[in-house]
């Protein structure tokens, strides 16, 4: 029972890591850049939903949908204004740029009068409800995370598999130049990918909010999603979710069975081992240049 309980909380936490990692992977596949701002986009999404509910008095579902849409628009705008001008420059400049974006997002949030500096609870309808299945205690917040992640993965899978847009995104992530020659509007697509990543981050933020509360530094959890993305293989979408689950479960078990301090470092130990043994990750594509 104990093990099942740990497994459940690990899976729920892992889904969050997986969703943030999904954002990294989407952006990495499309533009070959790594965004350190993903965790802070998540924070902005959670704050957006909170502001919608507390300032404008909207019902939860409406606020959630609006926050996701707003974050998607914000992602597109971000790509247009700051990322696009330096595409093609060394990868590292873009990493520094996203670190800058993260700093700015965190700084700006603390300047919003009234809500920026405090810790808030997001009043979700399913808060603090518990189901008992035999001896297993199922927290409805955790269950929601798992179900929402599953639905989102299904939607994303369908989009990448069946829609024209998704196929175009796959093509441009495999070879930008060839995709461009085939008439795919690569630039516009990159913007959309950033929008999609920001929207996924916003959803992750709202799912996480009932558990960790909404505050300006909640974006630091994004740093734990890097191990998730690497364990799954940086270029693979299902890998991101699986990597997130692995990291979440390892963390949850390490917190229970190992001495203090291992809970926070376990993900990083796992990722270092992974980089030593199998640098391409569990689902990583192994591409070689053919001459």
């Amino acid at each position: 029972m104990q093990i099942l309980q740990l497994l459940l909380s690990g899976i729920a936490q892992g889904c969050i890591y997986g969703l943030i990692a999904l954002g990294f992977v989407l952006i990495y596949k499309a533009t070959e850049t790594v965004s350190f701002a993903q965790g802070d986009l998540m924070m902005l999404g959670a704050f957006g939903a909170f502001a919608g509910m507390s300032l404008f008095g909207l019902p939860f579902w409406l606020a959630a949908v609006l926050a996701v849409l707003a974050m998607a628009a914000f992602g597109v705008l971000l790509e247009l204004v700051v990322i696009r001008p330096i595409l093609g420059q060394p990868q590292f400049s873009i990493v520094m740029l996203t670190i800058g974006i993260a700093y700015v997002a965190r700084g700006l949030i603390t300047m919003v009068p009234g809500i920026g500096t405090d810790t808030h609870t997001l009043a979700v309808p399913y808060k603090d409800q518990i189901w008992k299945l035999g001896e297993l205690v199922v927290n409805l917040e955790q269950l929601t995370i798992i179900i929402a992640t599953a639905i989102l993965c299904g939607l994303l899978f369908a989009m990448f598999r069946y829609s024209k847009l998704g196929i175009a995104m796959q093509a441009s992530s495999q070879n930008q130049l060839a995709a461009y020659y085939m008439g795919i509007p690569v630039k516009r697509l990159n913007g959309l990918v950033w929008g999609l990543a920001a929207a996924v981050a916003a959803i992750a933020g709202m799912l996480l909010a009932p558990i960790t509360f909404v505050h300006a530094n909640m974006g630091f959890i994004g740093l734990k999603a890097f191990p998730a993305a690497v364990v799954g293989g940086f270029g693979s979408l299902p890998g991101a979710i699986v990597g997130g689950l692995v990291i979440g479960i390892v963390e949850s078990f390490a917190g229970f069975y190992l001495p203090d301090g291992f809970k926070d470092t376990a993900p990083y130990i796992v990722v270092l081992l992974m980089l030593m043994i199998k640098p391409n990750g569990l689902f990583g594509e192994k591409l070689r240049k053919k001459v």
């Binding site: 093609g88 700084g107 690497v230 270029g235 030593m276």
Partner: protein, 358 residues
């Protein structure tokens, strides 16, 4: 406009290219030597911090700016040096030996990090060093018998041949000597075959390899030297603050160090010190400007982060070579006075080169 006539091959590797260099750097050194008598105590303390961060920046510059390996966990090396120095000094080990031990231990840690890092590159290297930084921070916090854990560690003031160097002036000169020696060391390294090998690795690993450069050996060496300098800086940092705790060496410190070399200008030795000046002067400027801003903005705890973020974004977008690049442009403008053309430093268009194929 100055024309330099090359009359011997030694001129190519001479540290001071012409009389102007000798004059201006001489002036700088003269100012730094008389500084304790010229500027007041508060600014001298800030100048000491600039020198300490400059030493750490030199190390990171060698790794990031000249070898092209990015470390997002450099605070771990800083911490390793600081804790070694703190523990050894408190045990009564003489200062110079403790300083060397701090540098050596950090270098050893650097080699350990370099081992897994040899197999990975680009963003994977960043994540490996990031993970390593987190683990080291946790070690500092948990290994309480040695590091004092989260309660921190008090560091005694340094003694050198019977003098106490704890006071402002003495410690300033100590930092100055270490900074000058490490700068000269790095400059010397960069004009040697080893330094050229580092630059070759940065520009293209494949061509470096085909010129007979042993990638693994040089990357490890770069990590070790970089970590040793960070350790030196860390040791001085521990004495300067005389109190160290694990949260001084967290991810934010690592990012601050990266910010320092990027804003200073990647790939220039000047950049390390310019970045250090930026890092130390910025909080002062912000606190001065606070009163001018409306209360909502001025009193927000995130103001410093916001300013850092905006400056970083502006530099990456408009001045990729950092403060040193800006100075180069100004100097060229002055040299060419009426003939400076706008397109002289224009960035070339390029499309993303895939890292996934190799």
């Amino acid at each position: 406009m100055r024309f330099i006539f090359k009359t011997s091959y030694d001129q190519d590797i001479r540290l001071a290219r012409h009389g102007g260099h000798v004059f201006w750097y001489g002036l700088l050194v003269a100012f730094l030597v008389v500084a304790p008598w010229v500027i007041d105590e508060y600014w001298l303390a800030q100048l000491t911090f600039v020198l300490i961060y400059g030493i750490v920046g030199l190390g990171l510059m060698l790794l990031a700016g000249f070898t092209g390996q990015f470390s997002i966990g450099h605070a771990a090396f800083l911490g390793a040096g600081a804790y070694t120095q703190g523990v050894l000094t408190n045990m009564g080990v003489p200062f110079p030996i403790a300083l060397l031990a701090a540098a050596a231990l950090s270098a050893a840690v650097g080699v350990v990090v370099a081992l897994p890092a040899l197999r990975v590159k680009g963003i994977y290297l960043g994540i490996a060093t990031l993970s390593f930084g987190f683990i080291v921070e946790e070690v500092f916090a948990r290994w309480e018998s040695v590091t004092g854990g989260n309660a921190g560690l008090h560091v005694k003031s340094p003694q050198l041949f019977g003098w106490s160097l704890g006071s402002g002036d003495g410690f300033y000169f100590l930092c100055l000597v270490v900074a000058v020696l490490s700068t000269l060391g790095i400059l010397n390294l960069l004009r040697s075959p080893t330094g050229r090998a580092f630059v070759a690795i940065r520009d293209s690993e494949i061509s470096a390899q085909s010129m007979g450069i042993h990638l693994a050996r040089y990357k490890t060496m770069s990590f070790a030297i970089s970590a040793a300098l960070a350790g030196l800086g860390g040791a001085l940092y521990a004495h300067k603050l005389s109190f160290i705790s694990p949260d001084q060496f967290n991810i934010l410190q690592s990012i601050d160090l990266l910010l320092m070399v990027v804003i200073g200008g990647l790939g220039s030795v000047h950049g390390a010190f310019l970045g250090a000046i930026f890092l130390i002067a910025m909080p002062q400027l912000i606190s001065m400007g606070k009163d001018w801003l409306p209360a909502v903005v001025g009193q927000a705890p995130g103001l410093q982060g916001l300013v850092y973020g905006l400056v970083l974004i502006a530099f990456v977008l408009f001045e990729p070579l950092g403060l040193y690049g800006r100075w180069l442009k100004i100097r060229t403008w002055l040299q060419l006075f009426p003939f400076y053309r706008k397109g002289l430093f224009k960035r070339q268009k390029s499309f993303t080169k895939s890292d996934r194929l190799r």
